[in-house]
């Protein structure tokens, strides 16, 4: 009797199980598909038009072409080295080791904006200075600065849209003025920033340019208090206005002048920290802080050696603006994370390519 009841009880679910197994098998398939879908979704596979680091660098490559082994932006450059001598005055602003009185070695790179590694030198091209501070114990501070007092674009998207609008027309080989006009019409912030940039007179060379970190950052002091700051490098070399006449002739005359002056005597800049006040914008590098903000001279950058990218360690260094030592932190400026991501993408692409000779060759530096 117990046997009979067990048998019938076992037969019932067995029959159900046949149909149920198929349903469960399909269910397993669905679960695996959903997991795979979630993975691909996170990787941006379902948003093919979202701006990603890869699409950003693709845009640089469309505008300037692919130049094997070169940075996708700020392609033309030279390596420099020297040291930073801190005067100790920065320690009240940030606990970062770099501000303790003393000397740390630096590696740097001067460059022109744009992805064309053989661009002809011109005073109105954006000048870049990347600096890597080698702190004791392997910590590092990297900053990539330009000679513009403000950045023309508030967001990565605006930068990207401008880049796309500036893409040369295949027929005329020049950007379409209509597209540039449309971009400016929809980006009043860029128009404002350009006014500020144009009101600054451009210096004659790399050596007497000021370089600006543009974005705001947070400095954290030893007691954990954070303050918003911006920084810049103020040249010790006296200002001489740019001479547009000199643009004739040598394609690399501004780099040649930099090499000649650094060989003659070390070049120096004061690292100036601008201390922000509560309410100062930290998420918009296209807006300057009000005049009269406290400026602290925290030390002197000395560059006493210049070399071609072909021999300089600077070539294979990514001057990622978010390589920061303890005591510095990124602000909410959306450009910072985007720059870090896009620089990394550019670095990864060029790292795996054959290196073509730099415009400034080792023999050019020895001249």
């Amino acid at each position: 009797m117990p046997n009979a009841s067990t048998a019938s009880a076992e037969n019932e679910p067995a029959r159900h199980a046949k149909g149920g197994a198929l349903v469960r098998l399909v269910g397993i398939g669905v679960v695996l598909l959903v997991v795979t879908g979630a993975f691909l979704y996170l990787g941006g596979w379902f948003t093919p038009h979202a701006l990603t680091p890869a699409r950003f660098v693709d845009a640089f490559e469309r505008v300037d072409g692919i130049h094997s082994g070169f940075r996708r932006n700020h392609a033309k450059g030279v390596g420099v080295s020297g040291f930073f001598e801190s005067n100790g005055r920065g320690t009240r602003l940030s606990k970062a080791v770099v501000f303790k009185a003393g000397r740390v070695p630096i590696i740097g790179r001067f460059s022109f904006g744009g992805g064309e590694p053989n661009v002809a030198d011109a005073p109105d091209l954006v000048r870049g200075l990347g600096v890597l501070f080698r702190l004791p114990d392997g910590e590092e501070w990297r900053t990539a600065m330009v000679n513009l007092p403000v950045f023309p674009f508030k967001t990565p998207q605006a930068f990207f849209d401008n880049l796309v609008a500036s893409q040369p027309d295949p027929q005329t080989h020049k950007p379409d003025p209509e597209k540039m006009h449309a971009f400016l019409a929809s980006h009043p912030g860029t128009v404002q920033a350009m006014k500020i940039i144009k009101s600054h007179s451009v210096s004659s060379g790399f050596d007497n340019s000021a370089y600006y970190g543009l974005s705001a950052f947070w400095f954290v002091d030893a007691s954990g208090i954070s303050i918003p700051v911006r920084w810049s490098m103020a040249p010790v070399q006296p200002f001489v206005p740019a001479d547009t006449e000199a643009a004739q002739g040598d394609k690399s005359y501004l780099f040649d002048a930099l090499i000649a002056s650094i060989v003659q005597h070390p070049l120096q800049w004061h690292l100036m920290i601008t201390v922000g006040q509560p309410g100062d914008v930290t998420d918009d590098a296209s807006i300057p802080w009000p005049d009269g903000r406290e400026q602290v001279d925290v030390g002197t950058l000395t560059l006493d050696h210049v070399e071609s990218e072909e021999t300089s360690p600077a070539r294979d260094i990514n001057f990622d603006p978010l390589v920061l030592p303890a005591g510095m932190a990124p602000s909410d400026d959306p450009l910072l994370s985007a720059r870090s991501a896009v620089y990394s993408q550019s670095f990864t692409r060029r790292a795996g390519e054959m290196k073509e000779p730099s415009a400034i060759t080792p023999s050019e530096v020895r001249k």
């Binding site: 996170l42 680091p53 910590e139 990514n318 990124p330 994370s337 991501a341 990394s344 790292a351």
Partner: protein, 186 residues
């Protein structure tokens, strides 16, 4: 019959189950962070800052877990598993251990070759394990992606196989690694 011992041995030890689920949570989080960060502008920095220390944490856990496994008694495979299935299960387990062990070193080595400081938190950072070399970085960077996709595929196979055994074959395979204590029913 020696039912007591078999009943006791049906599950992995509590410590082994803890490590299993800890690894699962960390590795799935890591795969999500990894695939999201390379496609993101706004969250790139935040995600990379999590990615590095989590990677090192996974390496530490995988090493401890492997040592613990070597010194533990494992429950037998269910009788429903054919010898081929047993081989596949053991091989995929070995593959997963290998990938999980190698992947953090590839990441660490790739950052070393790129000459990035390998920051974990604040001023805490790791020493470089490889010399500065752009091409070396490029190769390791690609390897890191390939291993990540392999890890995801191995996870899918593992997850699918456990679901199949548990829901279709209904041999209680999942109970061996269930996060809770499963008492032997027979």
């Amino acid at each position: 019959m020696n039912t007591r011992t078999t009943a006791q041995r049906r599950q992995f030890s509590a410590l082994m189950r803890f490590f299993h689920w800890l690894t699962a949570a960390m590795v799935l989080t890591m795969l999500g962070i990894g695939v999201a960060m390379v496609a993101s502008l706004a969250d790139y920095h935040r995600l990379v800052s999590l990615h590095r220390p989590l990677g090192i944490l996974i390496l530490i856990v995988v090493v401890i877990r492997y040592v613990n496994r070597r010194f533990s008694t494992l429950p037998p495979f269910p009788a429903t598993m054919s010898s081929r299935e047993r081989f596949a299960a053991s091989a995929s387990e070995l593959l997963m251990y290998t990938l999980l062990f190698v992947q953090p070193f590839v990441g660490w080595g790739m950052l070393s070759a790129a000459r990035y400081p390998i920051v974990l938190y604040g001023s805490l950072h790791l020493f470089p394990i490889l010399p500065h070399g752009a091409m070396l970085y490029a190769v390791l960077r690609k390897t890191h992606t390939v291993i990540a996709y392999l890890l995801f595929l191995t996870f899918l196979a593992h997850f699918g196989a456990v679901l199949f055994h548990t829901l279709i074959v209904r041999d209680g395979l999942f109970d061996r690694m269930a996060p809770w204590r499963v008492r032997a029913s027979n």
